[in-house]
């Protein structure tokens, strides 16, 4: 082959110019197989654009509890976590719930039953610790020259929710998806089912305007299942 280099170089010197080559990919050069090549270490991806291992992630988000009938559904929050490998991360998710009540349902119920849901203990904030299993890392091309990396990760964790009078436990599970704009910044969308305890706002007789306001402790504790979605931006450091 060494001799061939010399031959090629001689040819090169003898041919100073080339006709313009038009880009035309012959059909036979296009992929014909769906099997993967064999390597000693058959990693799915090498030289990844988004490296998360041993990195800290910080993010801001807004979210909503879509099945919450009484309290405000909206929240804003902060994500802070650590990725100890490309496969797993631990994220802490702090949420400050918006004050007030659900404006879609509560006024109607209050008016109809002459009730006052402001007597219900207020939902203040929640803190969750979630394990994220980063099962899928991929990419998507939406423009001719643009490529965006994706990450899909199941989420599971435990947390607490603070009401006026008491802290309640809960557990959640769901799935999240990140769309990376570059190597660090990502749009993060998480969808979770939260099974958690909280005060049952429907205290018999306790909400009626005609009755004296009950103590927060009089509201019965109850487990409920909520659907929560968070959308935000996160950054890898």
């Amino acid at each position: 082959m060494t001799k061939l280099f010399n031959v090629l170089l001689v040819l090169l010197l003898a041919t100073p110019a080339f006709a313009a080559e038009s880009v035309d990919i012959p059909e036979e050069e296009l992929a014909r197989e769906t099997v993967l090549p064999r390597f000693d270490r058959p990693d799915n991806v090498r030289n990844r654009n988004v490296v998360t291992e041993k990195k800290i992630e910080v993010g801001l988000y807004a979210g909503a509890n879509f099945t919450e009938p009484i309290y405000s559904q909206a929240k804003v929050g902060l994500n802070v976590g650590y990725h100890w490998s490309e496969d797993a991360a631990l994220m802490f998710n702090f949420a400050k719930w918006m004050s007030g009540r659900n404006s879609q349902y509560v006024p109607g119920i209050e008016q109809k039953g002459n009730l006052d849901f402001n007597r219900v203990p207020n939902l203040e904030y929640s803190l969750w610790g979630n394990y994220e299993l980063k099962t899928y890392y991929g990419k998507i091309s939406l423009t001719k020259q643009g490529v965006m990396n994706l990450s899909l990760y199941p989420i599971m964790g435990l947390g607490v929710t603070k009401y006026t009078h008491k802290m309640y436990p809960g557990l959640n599970a769901g799935i999240g998806q990140k769309f990376y704009f570059g190597k660090s910044l990502a749009l993060r969308i998480d969808f979770k089912f939260q099974y958690q305890q909280g005060p049952n706002p429907f205290l018999k007789g306790g909400l009626a305007n005609s009755q004296p306001a009950p103590d927060a402790g009089e509201f019965e504790d109850k487990f409920r299942l909520d659907n929560v979605m968070d959308i935000g931006l996160s950054y890898l450091f």
Binding site: T2, L9, A20, R48
Partner: protein
């Protein structure tokens, strides 16, 4: 190995039939009576056991003379009966003990041969081989020919070239049984091929019977010998027929893919680039030959002036998936293609990459070669790489770059040497698993034999490794020389470009073909992904260079 087991099965059947007769003969024999003529034995080993047993039977039947050897003869008789009954584990230690007794010197060759057979039956080929070698070295006896046969089979099972060469050097093929001639022709052909005697090699390979288990390999090697003898048309015919004969096998069947690869290489040798490229494209992606096919087809593309296709292939070969592969030549090819299409910046980048990647490799390689003399150190270095590869460990604790050791491990003779060491390890494990043998003097002897073979093989493998490393260093030096030549041409090209620029004759510096319509790529279900530095396993082999040539 199938022949071996079939052979042992025949022995067992034949022995089980004849053993009852022999027992009866012993009981009925009278001192002066001639032994009853037995039916002709089915194979040499059975004949040997029968002869030995007959001799012992006669002695046992003779008037009791309380000779000092009578006890030993009884033992021998018992051991032979055990061999007949297939009780090799019980017989072998006794036979080993008897083979060392002076009193049985006249039977020594016979005992060693039978011991070797018993050991072979227990797949203790190395220890068995030593028995056969002893018989052959002593010479003169009637067991020499049979021992050569057996030795060649044991050496074949072990994959030990030294033993095999020894056995083959003693062989007179016409004396070999017909059913075992194939192995000798095949191995002799291999030796000739390695020694560069291609015509003789081709002739020997052609003698291997079509029904033999060596047939496919022999035909393949014959093709290689023909190629080396510059007879590509004949080789092509052979490879095509080999490929057709495997048409029903799975697409990744080693013989099928190897023959396809050989077809591609034959076309390359014939300088029929289009057919070579076509043949290379038939190599399945999930075959271990595919990487070589990718690189070799790049050469075919380059030689047919398909520069865009060449760069497409090289994009795969220079991906992070090949960071452990020693392919310096591919970077030089890339730089030459860039030079062809007047991409001088790219040429420079590629040359810089070549120097950055292989400069330290050359330094480390030279330092290792200059500071290391002990062949064992060479072996140990490559052995570490072997385990890193096998166990997918991190590339740490190596004195040589991993890519270098890995390339050496892929060399045919080093591969064979490691295969032989594995066979020795397996034999050691088998001995340790048989307490009756492991604790006997035979076990101690076998362990000594294995230890000595381990040591010698490691030394000889170390020598092989050193030879490969020296060769790699020489090639690398050549490549660096070529790289400086390419760099000179690149600077020259840049100078010419600058002159044109000053004269206002500069061509538009388009980097990629913006006019290529994305629809082209998405038609027929194909997807298009612009490359952004990330390498995906399912994209390897599917890159398409879209750059434009910059020559005027």
């Amino acid at each position: 190995m199938k022949n071996f087991s079939r052979f042992s099965l025949l022995i067992l059947i034949a022995l089980s039939v004849t053993s009852a007769d022999a027992q009866n003969n012993r009981k009925k024999a009278k001192p002066a009576a001639k032994p009853k003529a037995a039916a002709p034995a089915a194979n040499p080993m059975m004949r040997a056991v029968e002869r030995a047993q007959q001799k012992q039977t006669n002695r046992a039947a003779a008037p009791r003379q309380q000779s000092p050897t009578s006890y030993l003869q009884q033992q021998l008789n018992q051991a032979l009966a055990q061999v007949r009954a297939g009780q090799y584990q019980q017989a072998a230690p006794t036979l080993y003990g008897l083979s060392r007794r002076k009193e049985l010197e006249s039977e020594r060759q016979q005992i060693k041969y039978i011991l070797g057979v018993a050991l072979s039956e227990m797949k203790m080929y190395q220890t068995a081989a030593f028995q056969f070698v002893d018989v052959i070295r002593t010479g003169g006896g009637k067991y020499v020919r049979q021992s050569i046969e057996r030795l060649s089979l044991a050496a074949d099972a072990l994959g030990d070239d030294t033993l095999l060469n020894y056995a083959i050097s003693k062989v007179r093929i016409d004396e070999f049984p017909q059913n075992q001639k194939d192995v000798v022709y095949y191995r002799l052909g291999e030796i000739k091929l390695r020694n560069g005697q291609f015509g003789e090699a081709a002739e020997l390979f052609s003698r291997v019977n079509a029904n033999s288990r060596y047939s496919a390999n022999a035909r393949f090697n014959r093709g290689l010998a023909l190629l080396e003898s510059n007879r590509p048309q004949e080789a092509l015919q052979l490879f095509n027929s080999l490929h057709q004969s495997r048409s029903r096998a799975s697409v990744t069947d080693t013989n099928r893919v190897a023959s396809q690869m050989a077809i591609a290489r034959t076309y390359y040798q014939m300088q029929d680039w289009d057919k070579a490229m076509e043949a290379y494209r038939e190599i399945p992606r999930d075959s271990e030959y595919w990487h070589d096919a990718l690189f070799e087809s790049s050469w075919a593309q380059l030689r047919s002036a398909k520069f865009r296709s060449t760069l497409s292939n090289l994009q795969s070969l220079h991906s992070a998936y090949y960071e452990d592969s020693f392919i310096p030549e591919s970077l030089l090819v890339r730089s030459i293609v860039y030079l062809y299409i007047c991409k001088f910046d790219e040429t420079e980048k590629t040359l810089n990459l070549f120097e950055a990647q292989y400069g330290p490799v050359r330094t480390q390689l030279s330092r290792f070669l200059e500071t290391t003399r002990d062949p064992l150190a060479y072996f140990q270095e490559v052995e570490r790489a072997y385990y890193i590869r096998k166990d997918r460990k991190p590339n740490q604790g190596l004195r040589l770059p991993y890519m270098v050791s890995r390339a050496v491990l892929d060399e045919g003779n080093v591969k064979r040497a490691f295969g032989y060491l594995k066979a020795l390890n397996d034999e050691k494990a088998r001995i340790e698993a048989l307490p009756t043998i492991a604790r006997s003097p035979l076990g101690v002897y076998a362990m000594k034999v294995l230890a000595s073979r381990f040591k010698n093989s490691k030394v000889s493998t170390g020598d092989l490794v050193r030879a490969h490393l020296l060769n790699m260093r020489k090639n690398l030096n050549d490549f660096f020389e070529q790289a400086s030549f390419v760099r000179y041409e690149m600077i020259n090209g840049k100078k010419e470009l600058l002159k044109k620029k000053i004269a206002g004759k500069e061509s538009p510096n388009a980097q990629i073909d913006e006019n290529v319509d994305r629809k082209f790529y998405t038609q027929n279900g194909f997807e298009y992904w612009p490359f952004d530095g990330e390498y995906w396993l399912d994209e390897i082999g599917n890159y398409h260079y879209l750059g434009q040539q910059s020559c005027e």
